[in-house]
């Protein structure tokens, strides 16, 4: 019971929902739960999870980054362009891309923390700017002649399993972010500034500096997702991952992170990322029309904010009744 309390009720709701989807799906839909199913789900989960990790931290501090998918797109474009211009060393390519992501994130962070502009407006701006630059770099061409070894290695399974090995990297990163958020002084500071930035400042939390580095981290992780995306689809295009930001934000919010900051945790977010992909794939296997899937996603998102509110109101009512 104590453990449940600690996890926070929404994390549990998400995980229970995930378990339900898997169990009911396996029982009623052919193909759900097979090794191949999980392979496809993980492939879909990887890029979203990579971005959701740092974005969770950002949203917990009360900010938001909508430019993540554009950072991915620009990374893909630059990577394609570098490759086309003869940069053929894989480590160098990856390093340059991650550096680019860090710079793009720092640009966001600069506007938000140094100039004090609202992150929502700033990252809507860079959402357009970065995507535009991606087009400027690569135009409407696609670069796809990467060595097959790179592209197939990126998604090759862990020996003996069907799940891609890249998931291990994501897992390590997830643990890292979870530890930072939940078990370090930095994490304590994140929650503090998300709830009340001024009080956090009075307690010695370097609010602006922390936020800046979070934006850098988000940029870097987004470009990592971009690298994975390029190799997974063996194609660098300016419109790669167009619109993915909404999917990531939806997952973070569904995971129980408050859009106003200060509330939520990584377990719920990871659960929500997996839940969304599993549900989508399961419904697809059940031949639910794609248009219905759109409605389901939206409804889930609304439920994720209305749900806890209703639960809270009900609890409040119960508490009021009890003393009487």
């Amino acid at each position: 019971m104590n453990i449940l309390r600690k996890l926070g009720s929404w994390d549990v709701v998400v995980l229970v929902a995930l378990a339900l989807v898997v169990i009911v799906g396996e029982a009623t839909i052919k193909g759900v739960g097979t090794p191949v199913f999980w392979r496809f789900v993980t492939l879909e989960v990887i890029p979203i999870a990579i971005i959701a990790l740092p974005l969770t931290l950002i949203v917990i501090t009360g900010e938001i980054d909508l430019s993540v998918a554009s950072v991915m797109g620009l990374t893909c474009s630059v990577m394609g362009s570098l490759w086309a211009h003869g940069v053929t060393s894989l480590p160098l390519l990856i390093a340059l891309c991650l550096l680019l992501g860090a710079v793009l994130g720092a640009f966001n962070g600069l506007f938000v923390t140094v100039f004090g502009l609202p992150s929502l407006a700033v990252t809507i701006g860079t959402l357009a700017l970065y995507r535009g630059l991606a087009y400027v770099v690569l135009g409407d061409k696609a670069v796809s002649n990467y060595p097959v070894s790179w592209t197939s290695n990126a998604i090759s399974p862990i020996p003996g399993l069907t799940i891609p090995w890249f998931v291990i990297i994501v897992g390590v990163l997830a643990v890292l972010f979870a530890v930072v958020l939940h078990a370090t002084p930095i994490g304590r500071g994140l929650y503090a500034m998300g709830n009340n930035a001024e009080a956090a400042r009075f307690a010695g939390v370097a609010v602006a500096r922390t936020k800046f580095w979070l934006f850098v981290a988000t940029g870097t992780m987004s470009s990592l997702a971009g690298v994975f995306w390029t190799f997974r689809f063996a194609s660098a295009r300016a419109d790669n991952a167009n619109g993915l930001e909404l999917a990531v934000v939806a997952a973070v919010l569904l995971g129980g992170v408050s859009i106003f900051g200060g509330r939520g945790g990584l377990l719920g977010v990871i659960g929500a990322v997996v839940l969304l992909s599993t549900l989508r794939n399961a419904l697809q296997l059940a031949s639910v029309p794609p248009n219905t899937l759109t409605i389901v996603t939206g409804t889930l998102l609304i439920a994720s904010v209305v749900g806890p509110n209703v639960v809270g109101m009900a609890r409040e009512r119960l508490r009021r009744r009890r003393p009487a």
């Binding site: 370090t184 002084p185 009340n196 009080a199 956090a200 307690a203 010695g204 939390v205």
Partner: protein, 494 residues
């Protein structure tokens, strides 16, 4: 005319009002006095329709009155000046005054010219010079308060409620306000006046109601009371015991502030606090005291000057550097600055120490909980569980959490801003004892306080600020009510 009976209100665990009664008469000015946190503002908010009482009735001219929201109160002719100004920073001053009641012309359009003219008229009546067209953003606290007063006046209200309207005003402005309030009263309105300044209370009001710890204590004609009577009723015991000041050995200079200036806030502030010494920083609200200590602590920037701790200059603009150097700041606004209301007692209490509590950069539940329990027990924080959000605690207990949070860092210099605001009498004395003890242990204490008795009772030395400058430095044996007030109002000899 307006009668409140049996009114109770609690916020979670905090019982702000218990079975309070109040009777306002037409053509009479009525004072409501009580200590910080006695529940005065809560009562005002109930009158204003902003809070619904848990129990009790309100009747107006014999008719029961139910206030669902502020609009109802307004419709009933109740005008309220809140303690904290509630202005819209982006809108013009004139609009702030007339929001929702703007004068109209054809097609129910707003008549902006008329609105401006009426606002200017109100300002004339109050004798202030404010441009009705300027936005409220950037107004000083005093000017904000004046706009609030103009707003209340514009109602032609039958009941005028003023929650500490004079706290930020100068003598002339107060006189003007009183003239207006008297003319309203003489025109048959009921006036409810809340203030911590007894001279004002006695100058304006015919009857005085005293509250203590959320409860009604007494209502008497002002003529039958002396200041001493009122204070005794407010505090519930002799004032002397409230300030258990111990003599402590005064040692070396701990905190030195030299020529600190922040444009628009304070200018050329210099002072020194020694170990074992309690220095009070007094002045009227808005004099810039909080701004100075915020700059010292590093949460605000400053333009010039320097701060030294134990002779070493402090990195400016970094609260964590200040904490590292042994500074601690208990801020004035507990809800906004002191605590993170949604987080647990434990997390709040250990936040400034989170780095030193971690091992290898990792925090494990145990160390935080132990540290939090340790200090909560020492200060006798009453909380059901340390894991509960601080918002569920009573005001006094919240303040204890803030103190615990800072004392746990074992500061060498403790800065406290209005340390006893909103806490009950018993706790207040405890806090004072604590400050005394700490000073005795060699901590340098800098205390900002608006309560003169507290300043006089606790301080070894009183610094007085006036309009952003240090106006006086008065040693304990010379400090009295008069000398401090003179300096604070700018009439000191310096």
């Amino acid at each position: 005319m307006l009668v409140l009976e049996g009114v109770s209100k609690s916020f979670g665990a905090v019982a702000a009002l218990r079975d309070v009664r109040l009777e306002l008469r037409a053509g009479e000015a009525h004072a409501l006095v009580g200590e910080n946190g006695a529940g005065k503002s809560t009562l005002v908010k109930i009158l204003a329709g902003a809070h619904a009482p848990d129990a009790g009735t309100i009747t107006m001219n014999g008719e029961p009155l139910v206030l669902h929201n502020p609009a109802d109160a307004r419709a009933a002719g109740i005008a309220v000046i809140y303690q904290e100004p509630t202005l819209f920073p982006d809108l013009s001053v004139a609009e702030n005054i007339f929001m929702g009641r703007q004068p109209l012309r054809g097609m129910r359009r707003i008549d902006a010219g008329e609105m401006r003219r009426r606002a200017a008229e109100l300002f004339d009546r109050l004798g202030v010079q404010l441009d009705p067209d300027r936005p409220a953003r950037g107004l000083s606290i005093a000017d904000q308060q004046l706009v609030e007063i103009a707003k209340a006046l514009s109602f032609d209200a039958r009941v005028l409620v003023m929650d500490e309207p004079t706290a930020a005003l100068s003598g002339v402005e107060v006189e003007r306000l009183f003239a207006v309030a008297r003319s309203l009263r003489d025109a048959g309105a009921a006036v409810l006046f809340i203030s911590h300044r007894f001279d004002e209370v006695f100058a304006l009001c015919e009857r005085i109601t005293v509250m203590r710890d959320g409860q009604w204590v007494s209502t008497d004609a002002a003529a039958d009371l002396t200041v001493a009577d009122v204070v005794r009723r407010m505090v519930g015991r002799e004032v002397g015991t409230l300030f258990p000041k111990e003599e402590a050995a005064i040692g070396d200079a701990r905190l030195e502030v030299r020529g600190l200036t922040r444009q628009g806030y304070f200018t050329d502030v210099s002072f020194t606090v020694h170990s074992g010494e309690i220095v009070a920083l007094a002045g009227l609200v808005g004099a810039g005291r909080s701004e100075v200590i915020r700059a010292v602590f590093g949460v605000d920037r400053y333009d010039s000057g320097e701060v030294l701790v134990d002779g070493r200059p402090l990195h400016r603009g970094s609260a964590s550097a200040a904490i590292g150097a042994g500074l601690a700041l208990v801020p004035e606004d507990r809800r906004q600055q002191g605590l993170i209301m949604e987080l647990s007692v434990e997390r709040n209490a250990t936040l400034p120490r989170r780095w030193s509590l971690s091992s290898l950069g990792l925090l494990f539940g145990g160390s935080e909980r132990r540290a939090a329990r340790d200090w909560s027990q020492r200060l006798q924080v009453k909380a059901a569980r340390l894991g509960d959000p601080v918002s569920t605690l009573s005001g006094g207990n919240q303040q204890k959490v803030v103190l615990a949070k800072w004392l746990a860092t074992q500061p060498r210099v403790l800065i406290v801003d209005e340390p006893t605001r909103g806490i009950d009498v018993g706790t207040k004395a405890e806090v004072h004892r604590l400050l005394s003890t700490l000073a005795g242990e060699g901590v340098a204490v800098l205390m900002v306080s608006s309560e003169l008795p507290e300043v006089l009772g606790m301080a070894d030395r009183v610094l007085v600020m006036h309009e952003g400058r240090l106006a006086a430095d008065i040693p304990r044996h010379q400090a009295d009510e008069e000398s401090v007030m003179l300096a604070a109002t700018g009439q000191g000899d310096r």
